[in-house]
């Protein structure tokens, strides 16, 4: 009996090992589709972009490239308009992150309080986030329309009309208008995420702080903020990456105008690639964007590690 059992066990184990699902290649099998996806849709295009950025290639003849070395980079960094584009990109990203996370936090704190109709308010607040970006851009454009827009009419009625009539055509007001629209679209997301983070703050900690005589601000700073800080960090990183990549809203509202005042890196890239048909310059601009994104990601990791170390101490 004992002998039989001893012989049976290795047989069944042997059968399991023979199954492809049990082999050491199984992980590779499961990883293959994802790896293929990354290679086909990310690694190859990125390699192609790096190659293009060192060539003179036009969209009309993309197969005929001429190697120009660093010429594209020298040209774009020597162009004053590109300097303005970089500044606009930084302003756009910083204001979007601060505006979306800040307003989201305020709204989340309000929604975290008990009041009548809180459920309805929580549902309504998600509407701008749920709306497609194109719809948001078109609604904003109509609201800001010089002739029929409700915002313009209101501003004119109270004597604060924009000189020239059109907010989106004003070099002074176009970027603030685009930023306001972007933040309006983003803040529901940040508020919902932060609301869930706020709900995870232990009540006993806030009650203990209150009992120890801490005021609202001190309780928030010492207890609540410490709990939600990692979520805020993650949101800031997400908002930064999304803002660096945002295209449709800016393009539909202003196409980067007037006179380049709302032109971010992505808009400049698109304009170079598909309007000027200069794929080489566009790829060089794209590489600048990639480098900025890498700096942001590495910076955020550095900050996250520093915060973790500080907390451990």
């Amino acid at each position: 009996m004992t002998v039989l059992e001893q012989t049976k066990v290795p047989r069944s184990a042997g059968r399991r090992r023979r199954s492809p699902l049990g082999s050491r290649w199984t992980p590779y099998l499961f990883l293959a589709p994802a790896a293929l996806f990354i290679v086909v849709f990310q690694a190859i295009p990125l390699a192609q972009e790096i190659f293009l950025s060192f060539t003179r290639t036009t969209l009309l003849n993309p197969t005929r490239s001429r190697w120009v070395g660093l010429d594209n980079f020298v040209r774009i960094f020597g162009d004053e308009d590109f300097h303005r584009t970089l500044v606009t990109t930084i302003v756009y990203v910083v204001v979007c992150v601060v505006g979306a996370v800040g307003s989201g936090l305020v709204v989340a704190l309000l929604l975290n309080k008990g009041f009548r109709g809180r459920g309805v308010a929580r549902a309504l607040i998600t509407v701008p986030w749920a709306a497609p970006g194109i719809a948001v851009a078109l609604i904003a454009t109509w609201m800001l329309n010089a002739q029929y827009g409700i915002v313009n009419r209101f501003l004119n009625a109270v004597g604060l009309g924009v000189p020239g009539g059109s907010i989106l055509d004003s070099p002074k007001y176009a970027l603030p208008a685009v930023l306001a629209t972007t933040i309006w679209q983003l803040f529901p997301f940040t508020s919902v995420v932060l609301l869930s983070a706020l709900q995870s703050v232990p009540h006993d900690l806030t009650e203990a702080a209150t009992m120890d005589g801490a005021g609202r601000w001190a309780t928030f700073r010492v207890v609540t903020w410490q709990v939600i800080k990692p979520v805020v960090g993650l949101l800031a990183l997400l908002m930064t990456i999304w803002s660096l990549r945002r295209f449709e809203l800016i393009w539909l509202m202003t196409k980067g105008g007037p006179v380049g005042r709302t032109e971010t890196l992505v808009i400049d890239l698109y304009s170079n690639a598909f309007e000027s048909k200069e794929l080489g310059s566009a790829a060089a601009i794209g590489m600048v964007g990639v480098v900025i994104s890498l700096i942001v990601i590495m910076g955020s990791r550095f900050v996250a590690r520093a915060v973790t170390k500080e907390n451990l101490r």
């Binding site: 023979r18 492809p20 290649w25 293929l36 009309l60 003849n61 009539g165 196409k255 309007e275 000027s276």
Partner: protein, 417 residues
């Protein structure tokens, strides 16, 4: 045993990779039509297929072609005007795209220069037809025919006849009329003035530049900042500053305003007669030559071309030959309204009764020019971008007009080498 397991696993992994790759590649492959049971299926891209008024009529006209043919079937591809060139040129650059394309001149020149358009000389014998010489000369490069005029539409002054019983005949009268009509939500004039409508602004400022004796080049050198150009563009800016136009309104908006009687005048091409009627059949409007000092104005020349990458060039040429037949030219002209077509055609008595100002457009053909930079045809889209950006900067008060034109001259010169 172990080797077999490894082999089996490798086979499974390879099959998965090949399967996924096949699906991905199948998704990436475009369907470009082609032969289907002996019938060549071709596509014809034009922004005008989406025009209110003209679009449905053009689609009916294509159906007439399809009914007349047993071996070729053409389908319409309506691409919106603002992104037409960009969309179609991108497709053509990658060896794809529609078989037939109705281009505007700047994009036509860019495509022609890049070798994306099939020469027509061996496909269509134009000597059989009486072509209009003035517009036709611009679609032949160094003796090689790259297209046939589909539509030639001269610019003129559209005016609301209820608001303006007698049209202005001088620039001073033009300004005075615009100012006197502007009141409340009615504007005396409308034109494009935002960077978002780059191609449209270019078309509009072309009339001011050439109407004041200027030109974008002398054929060899760019003359963007010449005194005459400055004079013409100053007139354009003065009207902008005089608040006689609905600022910020795009063409779609102010054309609707014109159709609703809220805009008194606009400079537009003959193609918009049908569209304007489509928006308001009761609008009492008329047309007169643009009252600028020099009688030279822009014209929308829109050639139809065959994509060099098309696998159905002969079928596409069949369509062009059908288009050039006299009866079909007359029908096309009726659809296009006040535009001309490739050949010399007679306006019908019915058309003249319905649209008495048709001779005004026809009379402008000899003095109309395509909106390209002569001598730098293929670079026109790039020069256009530079000029429009700088002119808009001047409109917005970022810089004075002379400095803007000097900057445009410098940037465009660097661009064309």
């Amino acid at each position: 045993m172990k080797k077999r397991r490894v082999r089996r696993s490798m086979m499974a992994a390879t099959t998965t990779i090949i399967g996924v790759a096949s699906i991905l590649l199948a998704g990436c492959t475009a369907d470009s039509g082609g032969d289907d049971g002996g019938v060549a299926k071709i596509s014809f891209a034009a922004s005008t297929f989406g025009d209110p008024g003209r679009g449905p009529l053009l689609n009916q006209w294509l159906e007439e072609f399809n009914k007349s043919q047993s071996k070729v079937q053409v389908s319409a591809a309506a691409v919106p005007y603002p992104t037409f060139g960009q969309t179609v040129l991108t497709q053509m650059g990658s060896g794809q795209g529609p078989d037939l394309i109705r281009f505007d001149m700047p994009e036509f020149e860019a495509a022609s220069d890049a070798g994306l358009i099939a020469p027509l000389d061996d496909l269509v014998d134009v000597s059989k037809y009486t072509l209009l010489k003035q517009p036709d000369q611009f679609v032949v490069h160094d003796g090689v025919r790259h297209g046939v005029i589909f539509e030639a539409s001269n610019y003129a002054m559209f005016y609301n006849a209820d608001l303006i019983p007698k049209p202005p005949t001088t620039y001073e009268q033009f300004v005075e009329t615009a100012k006197s009509l502007t009141k409340g939500d009615v504007f005396g004039l409308a034109f494009r003035q935002t960077e978002a409508e780059e191609a449209g602004v270019w078309q509009d400022i072309f009339n001011y530049v050439y109407g004041f004796g200027g030109k974008w080049s002398d054929g060899k050198t760019l003359t963007i900042n010449s005194p005459d150009n400055l004079k013409g563009l100053q007139a354009y800016k003065d009207l902008y500053d005089a608040k006689v136009i609905p600022k910020g309104a795009d063409a779609a908006t102010f054309r609707r305003m014109f159709a609703e009687g809220k805009v008194g005048m606009e400079l537009n091409n003959g193609g918009y007669v049908t569209a304007t009627r489509g928006q308001n059949a009761k609008l009492n409007f008329n047309v007169a030559p643009i009252p600028f000092p020099v009688r030279t104005q822009g014209a929308i020349l829109a050639p139809v071309v065959i994509n060099e990458a098309s696998e159905e060039k002969e079928a596409a040429a069949t369509f062009i030959r059908w288009t050039l037949e006299p009866a079909n030219q007359v029908k096309l002209q009726e659809i296009l309204g006040a535009s001309s077509v490739a050949t010399v055609t007679q306006r019908s008595a019915e058309s003249l009764k319905k649209t008495p100002f048709l001779p005004v457009f026809d009379g402008l053909t000899e003095s109309s020019l395509p909106q390209i930079v002569l001598g730098f045809e293929a670079k026109t889209p790039d020069i256009r971008k530079v000029v429009v950006q700088n002119v808009v900067a001047a409109l917005q008060g970022q810089v004075d007009l002379k400095t803007a034109l000097d900057r445009a001259q410098q940037q465009a010169t660097e661009l064309v080498g």
